[in-house]
């Protein structure tokens, strides 16, 4: 029987191997179970917390529920993580430079492979399940849906830039990898709007945080999807952060290349 084959391409092969490694053992499905439970609870929580309060925010209750669901559907993309910190931890970054592939591209390939598995086994079923959960998973309009796709792509690129910069910080400050990772995760959770829409932050904090790069990673695409913000402003802020972070990240790496490459090894 003829079986479709992926074309011979270094990045596709890398992505497919990373994807296969994820599915080593059925145990990985437990993480999906945990994620499903979390989103179910968050949906119930928002219904309880916001039922009498939604008129004071830019999102309706239905909008917040959609926001929460879509944040979980695209959780991996809204909080980009590559294997860079693992390479630092193991001291094996130097091996990446022995491959005839760009560093960022190979890290991206390793990241995207498991995303495909996640999408098929978790994200798409969750989207399909949305009506059963009483959530409308559709964007407010098809146009905003299209802009969401663009914004999501930009969010991923901003996330990759943050990965590079975080790596350089880890090496530059000579601190444990996991410690800087914790700080970054915590700050991102707080400032990105992935858990709580920035629109619900008091004292104007939401408006302030919306200008930070973390917001470009999660709040921007989610706000476009749910019409909680001006799409053009949000896209513009993402582009600005891309224009700032990428050159900065590349400069940091070039300036510290030797130290970065040999870190831990």
């Amino acid at each position: 029987m003829l079986r479709p084959r992926l074309p011979d391409n270094a990045y596709l092969k890398t992505a497919s191997m990373a994807a296969a490694a994820t599915t080593d053992h059925p145990g990985f499905l437990l993480t999906y179970a945990l994620r499903l439970l979390r989103v179910l609870v968050l949906l119930a929580l928002w219904r309880y917390v916001l039922v009498d309060r939604v008129n004071s925010g830019p999102l309706s209750l239905a909008g917040v529920l959609t926001y929460t669901l879509i944040a979980e559907v695209f959780a991996e993309q809204l909080n980009v993580r590559t294997s860079l910190n693992l390479a630092f931890w193991e001291g094996t970054l130097v091996i990446r430079f022995l491959r005839p592939m760009g560093l960022v591209r190979q890290l991206s390939a390793e990241m995207v492979g498991p995303w495909c598995i996640d999408f098929v086994l978790f994200s798409l079923p969750l989207l399909a399940m949305a009506p059963l959960l009483g959530v409308d998973p559709r964007p407010v309009s098809p146009g905003l849906g299209a802009l969401f796709v663009v914004s999501l792509a930009l969010a991923i690129l901003v996330g990759l830039a943050m990965e590079l910069i975080t790596g350089a910080v880890i090496v530059g400050l000579d601190q444990p990898v996991w410690l800087i990772e914790w700080i970054r995760t915590a700050i991102a959770l707080l400032l990105s709007g992935a858990l709580l829409p920035l629109a619900y932050y008091p004292w104007g904090l939401g408006e302030l945080f919306a200008w930070l790069p973390f917001a470009a990673m999660a709040w921007a695409p989610l706000a476009i999807y749910t019409a909680a913000g001006n799409p053009l402003t949000l896209l513009a802020s993402q582009l600005v952060w891309l224009a700032v972070l990428w050159p900065f990240g590349v400069w940091l790496w070039d300036a510290n290349r030797e130290k970065l490459v040999s870190h831990g090894g």
Partner: protein
């Protein structure tokens, strides 16, 4: 005793992801099969075999980290698994590929940690600490963080750590992996001294046969989970190889043709041959050589044990397909 493992066999093809998940192929590996082994107190036993023969599995069974599927393990009069806490207080274990040192602490801190956790009485601790520091040359690195040590330094520190509580049995799983010749020599000499002076029993695994021959009187050779040989090195040689190596230095660059000997290598008038000492006399070979050229120097010795055993492994490899596959 017996020990089997079940391994999942996976396809490298992404298209087989679902099959890997839902209907995985399982391979049953007989790591140990009918091993019956006794080690006397005060012995140094070399435990060798090709990769996958079951050496590390045996060390783990003896350390109490694994239980056999059938049969029993008794060491120092105890069951290593059931009596683990008492047992490991009398045993020292060094795994060459992993360290017991606390990474971000100096060696001194790890040693002090050991004193507390193993509840080593202070006088004994002080005595053993002095001994290992001197014999393993740890003074210069005693206050160095573990992560800043070279591999050889780390191995010495790990060996010292394993001995601080004055164990009766020392289990070494590839203790000289990746070490330079000087570091190896120091470690081997140290172990032999401890064995001679304190009657420390040692079971050591390694791929370096020459090193094992230096260290141990007895060698147990494993093949596919079974004991293929258990005896002294001299008997192993006699059993496996009657071959000797003859090296001739001659005036001519071209090697002489010797009937009954095989030329191994030649370089600028120095020619190395191998021959079966049971079939061909050395004197005949020398006579042949002298008839063809002027012989300046003669050397003869046994084939290195590494080559003897490598030939054996190769013979096993060509003869046996190895593990079964189950689904």
């Amino acid at each position: 005793m017996r020990k089997t493992y079940r391994q999942r066999v996976r396809s490298a093809d992404l298209r087989d992801v679902l099959r890997n998940l839902l209907h995985p192929e399982i391979r049953v590996v007989q790591a140990l099969h009918g091993i019956d082994l006794t080690v006397r107190r005060g012995e140094i036993v070399a435990y060798a075999g090709p990769n996958g023969a079951g050496k590390s599995t045996t060390i783990k069974l003896l350390s109490g980290l694994l239980a056999p599927d059938s049969g029993s393990v008794r060491s120092l009069g105890l069951d290593p698994v059931r009596d683990r806490v008492r047992y490991v207080g009398r045993v020292g274990v060094v795994f060459g590929q992993r360290t017991e040192l606390w990474w971000d602490h100096p060696i001194a801190a790890t040693f002090e940690w050991k004193r507390v956790v193993w509840n080593i009485p202070q006088p004994r601790y002080d005595r053993m600490l002095g001994l290992v520091r001197e014999l393993l040359g740890l003074d210069d690195i005693y206050r160095t963080l573990a992560r800043e040590l070279s591999l050889g330094q780390r191995m010495r520190a790990d060996l010292a750590l394993a001995l601080l509580h004055e164990p009766e049995l020392l289990l070494l799983d590839e203790p000289t992996l990746g070490l330079d010749v000087l570091a190896r020599r120091r470690i081997l000499s140290f172990i032999k001294d401890l064995n001679r002076e304190r009657g420390l029993s040692v079971i050591v695994t390694s791929h370096d046969m020459a090193e094992l021959e230096q260290l141990a009187g007895r060698i147990v050779l494993l093949h596919e989970g079974q004991i293929a040989f258990d005896g002294v090195f001299a008997d192993l040689r006699r059993l496996l190889s009657k071959h000797r190596v003859l090296t001739l230095e001659t005036t001519s660059e071209a090697p002489p043709r010797l009937m009954g000997a095989e030329l191994l290598r030649t370089d600028a008038g120095r020619h190395e041959f191998t021959f079966d000492a049971a079939a061909v006399k050395l004197s005949d070979l020398l006579e042949q050589a002298s008839a063809q050229t002027e012989v300046l120097d003669v050397e003869t010795h046994r084939a290195p044990i590494d080559e003897v055993v490598a030939d054996l492994y190769e013979h096993w490899l060509t003869r046996s397909p190895g593990a079964q596959t189950d689904q």
